[in-house]
Subunit: 191 residues, 2 copies
């Protein structure tokens, strides 16, 4: 999606270790007008998929998920990072490995809000190693929900996330796929 | 706001310890159509305030902040919970006491995205003790940003949050103010 690629080129910042900072418009400060265009494109990609729920993970997926959900006329459910092993309510629970922080954490969704009648679109801001998406896929499967696919703003195409998610039989659509990054800028995979 | 009060009465759940669970539509599953109506009302309340940035705190404020920002044609900035005391980037930092968890945590915003040209509307899902809002007010003041006020979905009117925020000279608007809660339901303060 050229609009997003142009914005990454203009405002993204590359740091050593293949870090791409887009916190001026995507995941700290959020340009809601831009995100609305992304949501419209996600709706186009999944227009015939019967999506009736959007699932994301806190915190940085929530903004794009909510704005995208407006195009689907459906609710958002966000998986919460859980600090406690035991909570009173009935939840689906999975573990996500954080590549960035080198840790594991639990994420949960309430059993009340995900079930076999749901056709879920998983939305997130980034795809790199794919661990968050695999966790969300696991939650959907525990709940017996159908997965329409994943919609991602920015994919790091040189990391194995897409391959791992597609190996689960889940469709992946990314609005911008970064092929390489350097001090000289970012190159995108042609879609 | 009657629409929100009706929804709380229909779908909110009261638990011992003055806990009001609204996670079916506000802060776990998010009814974006409802939130859009809340955003429209917040815009009406602050229509002449020159707001050019909406500030919230992760995670459950992000959805309502993003949808509300669409009515103001302005970006959202969300304060992040910080696990590390030292990070490379220049940030404003404050401490927030969590009444629910009995802990303190640091929240940060980048200096790049908050400054003296900003007129900030602080948006959050809940107001009870007011600690999160006081932290966000502190961040704005560190940055020299002007504060238009706070807009809250649900206020617990029997807790001291509003008084503490107003004591800072900051306007507070809540779309529903819970006066009391019991097994028999919720009563609202007339506005």
């Amino acid at each position: 999606m050229k609009l997003l690629e142009d914005r990454i080129e203009a405002d993204g910042k590359v740091f050593p270790g293949n870090i791409l900072k887009v916190d001026s418009f995507l995941n700290h400060q959020i340009d809601v007008a831009l995100i609305s265009q992304l949501g419209r494109e996600i709706k186009r990609l999944y227009s015939d998929s019967g999506v009736n729920k959007i699932l994301t993970i806190e915190a940085s997926g929530i903004g794009i998920a909510c704005i995208t959900a407006q195009f689907f006329d459906c609710p958002v459910l966000f998986a919460k990072k859980s600090k406690t092993k035991n909570i009173a309510n009935a939840v689906y629970r999975t573990q996500v490995h954080s590549y960035t922080h080198g840790t594991q954490y639990d994420v949960i969704v309430s059993e009340d809000f995900l079930g076999k009648d749901d056709k879920v679109l998983i939305v997130d801001d980034f795809l790199a190693e794919g661990n968050a998406l695999l966790g969300l896929i696991d939650l959907c499967r525990q709940a017996g929900a159908e997965i329409a696919g994943c919609a991602i703003a920015i994919e790091k195409g040189f990391q194995p996330g897409r391959k791992r998610v597609e190996a689960e039989g889940v469709r992946v659509e990314s609005l911008a796929i970064v092929e390489s990054m350097s001090d000289h800028g970012v190159t995108f995979k042609k879609q």
